[in-house]
């Protein structure tokens, strides 16, 4: 199957609003575009509107106003074509515990118009792909959380969809299962599948996404590649720790060339010298050279870059879960 | 054996409030018996014309004790279901960890059943009034009926609690539901004993509920011919004491084996 025309957006959202009873706007005037072939990470805390957006894009919920097209088709007027083009793995994937993995895959095949023999072959192929061949004939009721998520992913792939929606695919998984799922998503993307991923884990967005959108209060608050987003909050910090606090001023003088030297904070550690520099890690060798020329003995040099969490905090005023202790206050 | 009335009352109140918060527990106990009553009272009222049917003022009053006993059966069963659900959810373990006597846990649950049954019976008696039920037995008859039903509910609750404690399975408790009706139908719940099919009439002799239904009929109508209050009280008390002991024993077994 040919991948989507790279010029045509895989997902195109314009002024999308979804209002629930009581006037609560879970999605509140959202504009968004996902290009064919990319992995788009959609980041937000619980209740930010992620799941509502995914449900609209996958034809499970109708928008109150605005429009959304997926794979070139309108999600309301052309829902059937959208359904044929997308694969969906929803959060807290419910899988019938009474059926075996293989049966579920074959059933999914029938739902997507695969002929019996083809569905059978595809089921074996996918079980193999997600590493469930031996478990394939056992009932799903006995699967672990990681196995279920892998099966769920396989189910979303049965009809070789152009656009894959993954709603918090690794929430609640252990690190090993998470890494395995990430590998699989990457390799699917390499094969040309566009992936729309929601997550509340920064690491996941950072590891997988070509571009990241941050949603809060039903609006898209920021969007871009992880690097661009991080650069927006601030330049990386070069942190030099000198052996003798008396040398600190000399060190500041030496590093002036590299960027903006931060003044010594009163009550801070006197041996620490901080320089904001766009050059990031590349600033380390010249820094060492400059310090050496002035005869400043150095204990350590390190570079600290802003994280997506800093971006998130800057954009929404709150921190995401998974990054230290979550602040419970909403944005 | 010293009792802990305050613990028992607290547990009983909690059992009762849970019952009223869960619609799926409330519907069957309050609504189902009334539906059956409506259907039977209306669908079979021509039975009064049958030969051998006792002369009664109101057919509705005659079948009402069947509904009251059905309510008591269901109140007992739902308390077993609620107990099983407490066991599955782990709440019961928390109770076991509390410094209270084990017997109080059983008695508290049954106190809730008792309270539920009193409310239910009063509700049935009231609802039937505008539809033409009459209680010539007066306040004493009404009070006696409420007591009989409540003690019977405790008796059924004891069996249900014993099963719940032994199995801890919610789905098993729910599938017991039809068997409640076996107990109901092997008593002359809605028809005079003399007019049941002979096999059933013979069986009814061994069903304690037979005496409860008949006693309550007698009490409501103020006519001891219809049933002896003493026999009813004896049957229900005997049932309650025996099954409460069974439940206490089941709890001891549960603690010993788990």
């Amino acid at each position: 199957m040919p991948p989507l025309d790279a010029a045509a957006p895989a997902v195109e959202v314009r002024g999308l609003v979804r209002e629930f009873k009581g006037g609560i706007r879970a999605v509140d005037g959202l504009d968004l575009e996902v290009r064919g072939g990319e992995i788009y990470g959609f980041l937000g805390p619980n209740g930010a509107g992620k799941t509502t957006l995914v449900r609209i894009l996958t034809t499970l919920l109708r928008p109150t106003s605005g429009s959304a097209r997926v794979a070139g088709y309108d999600v309301v007027t052309d829902a059937d074509r959208v359904r044929r083009s997308i694969g969906v793995a929803l959060q807290e994937a419910a899988i019938d515990p009474l059926m075996t993995g293989r049966e579920l895959l074959r059933m999914q095949g029938a739902l997507h118009a695969l002929r019996g023999s083809e569905a059978k072959r595809r089921a074996s192929e996918l079980l193999d792909r997600v590493g469930l061949t031996t478990a394939g004939d056992r009932r799903v009721g006995g699967y672990s959380g990681g196995m279920r998520r892998r099966l769920d992913l396989a189910l979303a792939l049965v009809h070789r969809p152009d656009v894959l929606f993954l709603d918090e695919p690794t929430t609640g998984l252990d690190p090993t299962s998470r890494a395995a799922l990430w590998r699989e998503v990457r390799s699917l993307n390499d094969e040309g599948t566009t992936v729309f991923l929601t997550t509340q884990y920064l690491e996941e967005a950072e590891q997988l996404a070509d571009r990241v959108g941050i949603i809060a209060g039903g609006r898209l608050e920021a969007e871009g590649t992880p690097d661009v987003l991080k650069a927006r909050v601030g330049e990386p910090m070069l942190i030099v720790t000198v052996d003798d606090p008396a040398d600190a001023d000399a060190a500041r003088e030496a590093l002036r060339e590299l960027g903006r030297v931060e003044p010594c904070a009163p009550g801070g550690t006197p041996e620490r010298v901080v320089v904001r520099t766009v050059r990031g890690k590349e600033a380390i060798p010249p820094a060492i050279r400059a310090l050496d020329e002035r005869g400043v003995a150095v204990a350590s040099v390190e570079v600290e870059s802003p994280t997506l969490d800093d971006v998130f905090a800057a954009v929404t005023g709150s921190r995401l879960e998974g990054a230290a202790e979550p602040e419970s206050a909403a944005a | 054996m010293s009792l802990e009335p305050r613990v028992i009352a607290a547990l009983g109140r909690r059992a009762l409030s849970v019952q009223f918060r869960r619609a799926q527990l409330l519907m069957p106990t309050f609504v189902l018996p009334l539906m059956l009553l409506a259907v039977i009272a209306s669908g079979t009222s021509s039975a009064q014309d049958l030969e051998g049917f006792p002369a009664v003022g109101s057919y509705l009053s005659f079948v009402l004790p069947g509904t009251i006993i059905q309510g008591a059966l269901l109140a007992g069963l739902t308390s077993g279901i609620a107990l099983a659900s407490d066991i599955e959810s782990g709440f019961f373990d928390r109770l076991l960890a509390a410094p209270v006597r084990r017997v109080s846990l059983v008695l508290g649950r049954l106190a809730g059943t008792l309270g539920l049954s009193v409310l239910q019976t009063a509700f049935f008696l009231l609802v039937a009034l505008p539809f033409g039920a009459r209680y010539p037995g007066g306040v004493a008859g009404l009070a006696g009926t409420v007591v009989l039903a409540a003690v019977t509910a405790v008796g059924i609750g004891g069996i249900a609690a014993a099963i719940a404690l032994r199995t801890g399975s919610l789905s098993l408790m729910q599938s017991i539901f039809p068997f409640v009706f076996v107990l109901l139908f092997t008593a002359p719940a809605f028809f005079p004993r003399e007019l049941l099919t002979p096999v059933l009439a013979d069986l009814a002799v061994f069903n304690p509920l037979t005496y409860v239904v008949e006693a309550s009929r007698g009490l409501l109508a103020g006519d001891a011919e219809l049933g002896s209050p003493i026999a009813g009280l004896g049957a229900s008390l005997g049932l309650a004491i025996a099954t409460t002991a069974l439940a206490v024993f089941a709890l001891a077994e549960r603690l010993r084996t788990t």
């Binding site: 040919p2 419910a94 | 809605f190 099919t197």
Partner: protein, 266 residues
């Protein structure tokens, strides 16, 4: 869009109904004892009610002298109705747990998503219906209607099962919670009993007299009674009201179920 990618074909309706039918049978085939309560309850009611009220046949105007024969079709209908309503409870569970979303995002026409489970219910209801019939027969109910009568009884039971199933589906898509389960069951309960369940129309008194006359289930019941009641012989006159009632019920609840499904936003 000139370069629109070729879409996979629409799925074959029969194939999808087939897999969804098989899946709904899992509920009883793969769960030990799952059919037991659904079978025992109507049998208990059959035995209990016939034991309590068998003398009613002594009343003037009762068309048969075997009360068991009178209520066997009732118990069959009840059993089939409960099996049908279970479809709603299962669907509510599927909606609650998110499984139904999986079906909704597939390119399958919405009525097909409901047809599979309804067919499953019809298949499942054959077990309790047959058990009730056999128990009734063993205890002395007479099969006076012969093969045609039996056919009418099974037709009444299976179609009523489908009606109850659609009612359950409607409740499930409206409430979307398993808590609505008792509501589905009790709807069937009321519908069945507000009919000529225990006594023929001529012996009904008061409000039930009117309710039963207007209740379509009365006519479905009479359709089934051609199997066992000697006073209601198999004939076209006894058949068409039941068929018409079933047709109307199916159309009505089918439309409600579809409307409810649309209202879910899918």
């Amino acid at each position: 869009m000139a370069s629109a990618p070729a879409l996979p074909a629409a799925p074959g309706t029969l194939a999808v109904i087939g897999v969804l039918w098989r899946r709904s049978l899992n509920e009883v085939v793969r769960v030990r004892g799952a059919l037991l309560p659904a079978t025992v309850a109507p049998v208990v009611f059959l035995l209990g009610m016939s034991g309590q009220f068998s003398r009613l046949t002594g009343l003037e105007g009762f068309p048969t002298d075997s009360y068991l024969s009178w209520i066997v079709p009732l118990s069959c209908l009840q059993a089939a109705g409960f099996a049908g309503a279970a479809t709603g409870a299962n669907l509510a569970r599927d909606i609650e747990q998110g499984w139904f979303d999986r079906l909704l995002v597939s390119p399958v026409p919405r009525p097909v998503l409901v047809a599979g489970p309804i067919l499953g219910a019809i298949t499942r209801c054959l077990v309790p219906t047959t058990v009730v019939l056999v128990v009734g027969f063993l205890l002395g109910a007479e099969l006076t209607g012969g093969l045609l009568g039996l056919l009418a009884l099974y037709l009444a039971a299976t179609a009523f099962c489908a009606v109850a199933g659609l009612w359950g589906v409607f409740m499930a898509v409206i409430f979307r919670t398993q808590q609505a389960g008792p509501l589905m069951q009790q709807g069937v309960f009321v519908a069945v009993f507000l009919s000529t369940a225990y006594t023929p129309q001529a012996l009904l008194r008061g409000w039930l007299e009117g309710a039963a006359a207007y209740n379509p289930v009365t006519y479905v019941l009479e359709l089934g009674r051609q199997a066992t009641v000697s006073g209601i012989e198999p004939s076209l006159a006894n058949t068409w009201p039941g068929l018409a009632a079933l047709g109307g019920l199916l159309a009505c609840f089918g439309a409600l179920a579809m409307l409810g499904l649309r209202r879910m936003g899918a």
